[in-house]
Subunit: 353 residues, 3 copies
């Protein structure tokens, strides 16, 4: 972990942070977190589920965070930090140990190419080889890591951070505190052609993209500009790596879109929708608020609010499970039906005169 | 839309462009297109299907393009532009309003690194931080946006446009008017190893790639170089974002490959093949001319010309539908068979002496 | 193939390389390899399977490498190079003809930005626009192609080669002879949030990544840093393009992960696991040594060592095949059961008094 291990706190300080009684070894110093197996005497660890409880006997960790609901077997000697909300506690501890993200030096790197007509806010940091096009505007506190490309007439709110190699093409509007991870591309033409009898002719894609506040976008994500009007990602939505968002897609606020999911053109997600990894959403499909799709679901029809769907094609999850259970028995069923046919045939012969 | 709204035309001029009678409000000025819901009084809109006809009553659009075949309910007051071919009309109007794509200044940016042995055509535009390797040649009118990398001995025809961050490795031949969108990579080694008893040993991938004229390639697409011989993308084929094309794949002309599809090594597509999003094509599979695969199809066997396939594994689409319909009834079928077994058993007992 | 055709050897020399008797045309010069159809009189070719044997009659190749087990029909006139291990022979010949990979000039390009605190080994080659952050260390013989980004405190062993545009973020450790292809991103934050009642709050991802010796990573691959502890790719593992590796994933040595596969957080692969293209692995799933997953498998549960799984959800491959075979018959089965119901009904009536 190199120069990172600068954070040193005591077990007691962690207990205080988590608002839980301090164990006997309160004065022991810890420098980070690790798994139950790998933690050293100067690291904390975490045990969130029954499945891992047996590891509590052998861990060398200085102390282990456990949720109150977890049943701890007798004989466990490691110091425990018992909390109500284990996820929250983990997040708090991670924040405590989080090393600062290395960022470009304040100001504009000498190798960056900022168009004279671009407007830069205060307290910005622009790294090597960044390009910012004509008419673009960066809000206060924006950070553009090395090699970021911002096209013409792109509007960024305050506090955005784009990691190396992010590409944002022309005429895109991005809100405040938006994070885009390395290698993602916003603003490619939507995928649209018409056949003129001889070849596919490109349909101009003249629309734009709006990314609302507090959206986070992973690496190698592609978000296409609208044919006309707007491709939109709603407030606080989080998108994982390698996701494809087609033209005119509208994603509501607070959605979670897991890695390698794909949303075809004009798909529409409500508020708080969760799409598992490798999910596919057909063009023009609407997914209601708080609906969830399991990983690899292939969604070809509209999904009701709060529905849970899975499978290919995606069905209500219970139906999917029932069909899968039946499918497990299908080979036997085929045999049973053949046997039934024979029996019925023999019965028929038996009663025929 | 920033500085884009410079295009102002009248409804009458649009009618003329579409070769259709002008509505009464011919003199009204319009500045763009939008959806039926979002269009303002100075925007055009479009209604292509029955499903949206009801929105015609409430739209504020200056005029709406509709195909002649669409049945317009009485009482619709918005001005209509009635056309034969709605897709063509849309494309024409989009072209009319399309803002120019921002491009690097003519010539070679001072930060670009062009090898002295590279040959550049006339009227080229090469942006910041571009690299062009030894022995490469760019045809007339080529545009390389910021950060494009062209390796050694790469041949580009006339009128190609590569968006920011495109990477084309050595010894690749690209035709005329080829568009490659931001972040795509051409020329990575094909994925090939042999096990020597101790480890996977890399098999050299010494072949090349040929991209024919008028191909368009989306963002974050990977096209691998051949093991030997050539990976080839045919004339006028269009490839969406995040598509994987393995080594020695041959894609015919006029194909459409939708986002996140993957073609394994030596797969072969005929002319005019359409692959839906997230389609998978097994290595060495051949797909016939004009065949189509629905989204998420997993194609493990050759596909006949003009066939339509879907599902995993991909089957003829009608069969797929029939099986899916039967699968919906499978849980009931299991119950029915159990009941039949009981009935047959009871019948047998009934007639046995 | 441009300036590549510098390698000229005779058929006899190739026979010697492959340790096989030389054909009669030993003195004929060859300049490369090609397919049976496309090979010219000065090229070698290869015939590995029965399916292609008929092409031996019409090929123009100077000589064809064939495995001893292949039955050659009478009348084949082309010179044959008969070998025991055709894959090995192919690899040897490809190595013989492999053109050198173009690399940056030795030393550090003047446009590269190397932090003064970074430590560079001997015989390195760093191309244009490369960035190397503070505290990072490159072993001997490392090659960073144009536009590579190395963050702070990144440790590289000896002999690594990173192709254009590769991004390696801070605090990552990479072993010896690791190859990363263009456009891949290592070190993005893992995808983790907690809902605080109002919005998704980012959970800090403070861990790191270890890439062991002789790993090869394709293009546009994303490997996320661990939440805490380490995301790890084992010795000699090979990863194809567009693969997603989530936080805290542990991949054992000698694995093969084919294009567009996705491994969710904390998934664990043993030694020598093979994942087909577009495979999905659920979070926290463990896959045993030498297990294999067919393309498009959706792995939701642990997989035993040496097991072969396929389908969605992934099942033991034989069971998957049996179910698929039964599913092909399901539409007929539905009809058969309906008929049986009628027959049983009619039987019941027939025997009722």
């Amino acid at each position: 972990m190199g120069r990172v291990v600068d954070v040193v706190v005591t077990v007691g300080q962690i207990a205080q942070l988590l608002n839980t009684p301090s164990p006997a070894n309160a004065q022991v110093q810890v420098t980070g977190l690790n798994t139950l197996e790998e933690a050293t005497e100067s690291e904390l660890s975490f045990c969130g589920a029954e499945a891992y409880v047996r590891k509590l006997s052998s861990t060398r960790a200085a102390a282990v965070i456990v949720p109150r609901r977890l049943k701890i077997p007798a004989g466990v000697r490691v110091a425990l930090l018992v909390v109500e909300d284990a996820d929250l506690a983990m997040a708090q501890v991670l924040e405590r140990f989080a090393p600062p993200v290395p960022r470009p030096a304040p100001g504009v790197d000498r190798s960056a190419r900022i168009d004279p007509s671009a407007v830069l806010g205060n307290d910005i940091a622009i790294g090597p080889n960044v390009v910012v096009g004509a008419g673009s505007r960066l809000g206060d506190g924006c950070i553009l890591h090395a090699g970021v490309y911002i096209g013409q007439d792109v509007m960024l709110g305050d506090g955005c951070e784009f990691f190396p190699g992010v590409i944002v093409r022309e005429r895109i509007t991005i809100g405040n505190r938006v994070i885009i991870h390395a290698g993602s591309v916003l603003g490619t033409d939507g995928f649209g052609y018409r056949w003129d009898g001889h070849r596919h002719v490109k349909i101009p894609q003249i629309g734009t993209i709006i990314i609302e506040d507090e959206v986070e976008i992973g690496s190698c994500v592609c978000i296409d500009r609208a044919k006309f009007s707007t491709t939109r990602i709603g407030f606080g939505t989080k998108i994982d790596n390698l996701v494809q968002i087609g033209h005119n897609v509208v994603v509501g606020p607070h959605c979670i879109i897991v890695g390698q999911a794909g949303l075809a053109g004009s798909a529409k997600l409500g508020t708080g929708v969760v799409l598992g990894g490798q999910t596919a959403v057909r063009d023009h499909v609407t997914i209601g608020d708080a609906a969830m799709a399991a990983a690899c679901a292939a969604i070809a029809d509209d999904v009701e609010p709060k529905a849970v769907v899975s499978g290919m094609p995606a069905l209500p999850h219970r139906q999917s499970l029932r069909e899968q259970a039946a499918l497990r028995r299908l080979p036997d069923l085929v045999v049973q039906v053949r046997k039934l046919q024979e029996e019925v045939e023999s019965l028929r012969k038996g009663i025929s005169p």
